[in-house]
């Protein structure tokens, strides 16, 4: 049995995450400001010396999958928050159904990306694997982002913190999908005659917290917390992909090109070549 009050936990999550988000935005402002005296701002935005890249262009398919992921994540985040905080007049049922449709698409997209990473001809899971060399570079990379040093160790296509972030995305996605499905407490799966909630929670959490309904309530809290973690990490991801390497980000979304042969990107001496995102 849980002794913490469920009500307190819910309200606490709302405020802690909102406060945390404000802090994150403040850190961005500070980070952006710091890039001016450190010379990074001038180097990139004025002299146009963006990082160099090992391969000319990311292939089209992962770009497309990323785009589909991104759109669905925004839809899910928006509709999800509108389910919890009904700030839209009417239409909660609509929002729910949009969430349901998007959740099916996002799970399919996730599986698609896993297939691409592990089973396709151009499998790229190695790009995300953290090697010993990566692990050793962690302090250097962290020092670069926090302005303790002005050069970033280059080990691979993605640096170690990027790899960590992308692996975290995958992990969160899996957990979010599972606890999200566990919220489907009314829809009985045909032929099986049980709900996802019963299948996913009935045998472990339900006996601990006093019933499937209460187990679903705790899963809601988890689903909601992960939503905030996504919001925060994705915001950082967006900020860094825009500030660290805007040419590759634009290229990643189909605009422009970061190809040295075409564009006038000089070689950054301070910033070691590395692809950002």
């Amino acid at each position: 049995m849980f002794s913490i009050s469920y009500g307190d936990v819910n309200v606490m999550l709302d405020y802690v995450f909102m406060a945390l988000y404000v802090v994150v935005l403040a850190v961005f402002a500070f980070h952006f400001f710091m890039s001016i005296p450190m010379g990074r701002f001038r180097k990139k935005w004025i002299e146009g010396k963006w990082p160099e890249h090992d391969e000319p262009h990311p292939p089209a398919l992962p770009k497309y999958i990323h785009f589909q992921h991104l759109v669905m994540m925004f839809v899910l985040g928006f509709t999800g928050l509108a389910i919890r905080f009904p700030f839209i007049q009417g239409g909660r049922t609509t929002l729910r159904y949009v969430h349901y449709v998007a959740m099916v698409i996002v799970i399919a997209t996730f599986i698609w990306r896993l297939w691409y990473a592990f089973a396709s001809k151009r499998r790229d899971w190695r790009a995300f694997a953290i090697t010993k060399r990566d692990a050793k570079s962690l302090i250097g990379v962290a020092a670069y982002y926090s302005f303790f040093s002005n050069s970033k160790p280059h080990t691979d296509k993605y640096n170690v913190m990027q790899k960590g972030t992308y692996l975290l995305f995958a992990l969160l996605m899996a957990v979010q999908a599972l606890c999200g499905l566990a919220l489907l407490e009314f829809w009985k799966i045909p032929y099986i005659g049980l709900t996802f909630s019963q299948i996913l929670l009935g045998w472990w959490l339900a006996p601990m917290v006093g019933g499937v309904a209460m187990a679903v309530a705790w899963m809601r809290t988890l689903h909601y917390s992960i939503t905030w973690i996504f919001i925060i990490v994705v915001t950082v991801h967006m900020y860094l992909s825009a500030t660290e390497d805007i040419p590759v980000t634009l290229d990643f979304f189909g605009f422009g090109s970061h190809d040295d042969a075409e564009g006038g990107h000089g070689h950054a001496t301070v910033v070691a070549p590395a692809e950002e995102g």
């Binding site: 009500g7 819910n10 309200v11 919890r84 159904y97 006093g210 019933g211 209460m214």
Partner: protein
């Protein structure tokens, strides 16, 4: 390399377009079916705006009818509406008392669409007979009309009389001192424009949307209306969520009991029961465990106020 790349871009753009169309089509198709009831309800309530939400206020003091300013003495054909409507069908029929002007007009069009369209005036105004001018002597004609329902709806009247809204004599057998503030049938259900509920989903939706006018108005439970703002019940109900509960979904309808009453559906001991949180369509398999959520339903604001983050913010901003 580069011609290939251009083709890819076009391909990607094409796929994007198709996916977007599919997503939009799917969501509209799936959701469209679901929105309809909401839309119908609101459309109907705008269409019949004149008919809705004119719930009489129990705060209004008994108005002695007739001002005594006119002299008439004739018999009315009260076993129909025509007699009464000679005067009450006139929108200008007003009575001035002090600086207030009360309308005694009955909107016949609205009445003829109400649940009681075929009931004669004296069916509810049972203390009104035959003579005009009437009402002198200061009898509480409103109270009579508001509970004359029992003549046709005895079961509902009995249910009401068992609940907290019925007056209870004091221990020494004096009348309930709070009787004047307790609602009679008409205080919740309204009067001349009562909507048809039977086989009428639009009417049901309309009544379902009237929690504030019925229960949460000033003088009644305005405080509980205000603090009914947890995530999925109160806040959702107030923004018109079709599946969010209204006051009586949890508190019961005619036999409304205090939550401290052992038999109240909102009594802590009953929250897990089939007629409380476990009502079909709500939380199946609710079990007693779900009671852990209950404090949020009317208590989110209180819980928020004592949250450390909020208190820190209050302190920093110098609030309170």
């Amino acid at each position: 390399m580069s011609p290939v790349r251009i083709e890819r871009r076009v391909l990607v753009a094409g796929i994007l377009l198709v996916v977007t169309i599919v997503v939009v089509a799917l969501t509209t198709a799936v959701a469209g079916a679901e929105v309809k009831p909401v839309l119908t309800a609101s459309t109907v309530s705008t269409a019949t705006a004149a008919v809705t939400t004119i719930t009489p206020s129990i705060a209004a003091t008994a108005v002695p009818s007739g001002s005594g300013g006119y002299a008439m003495d004739f018999t009315l054909p009260t076993f129909g509406k025509s007699g009464c409507m000679v005067c009450h069908g006139d929108p200008n029929l007003v009575v001035s008392q002090g600086d207030a002007t009360h309308s005694f007009w009955v909107d016949e069009v609205a009445y003829s669409h109400s649940a009681h369209a075929t009931v004669v005036c004296t069916g509810c105004h049972t203390d009104y007979g035959y003579k005009a001018p009437h009402g002198q002597g200061g009898q509480d004609w409103r109270a009579v009309a508001k509970q004359s329902c029992k003549n046709c709806h005895p079961n509902e009247f009995r249910d009401w009389s068992l609940g907290a809204h019925a007056p209870v004599p004091t221990a020494d057998k004096k009348p309930d001192p709070k009787a004047a503030s307790k609602p009679l049938c008409g205080d919740c259900h309204g009067g001349h424009n009562m909507v048809v509920l039977k086989n009428n989903p639009a009417g049901q939706a309309e009544v379902r949307a009237q929690a504030q006018q019925m229960c949460g108005r000033q003088g009644c439970h305005a405080d509980y209306w205000a603090n009914y703002n947890d995530y999925y019940h109160g806040a959702a109900y107030k923004t018109g969520a079709a599946d969010a509960p209204t006051c009586w979904t949890c508190h019961g309808t005619h036999t409304v009991l205090k939550s401290s009453d052992r038999f109240s559906p909102t009594n802590a001991a009953n929250l897990g029961a089939a007629n409380s949180c476990g009502t079909p369509g709500c939380h199946t398999d609710s079990a007693p465990g779900l009671a852990a959520y209950a404090p949020l339903i009317h208590g989110r604001a209180t819980i928020s106020a004592k949250n450390p983050v909020v208190r820190l913010l209050d302190f920093v901003l110098g609030r309170k």
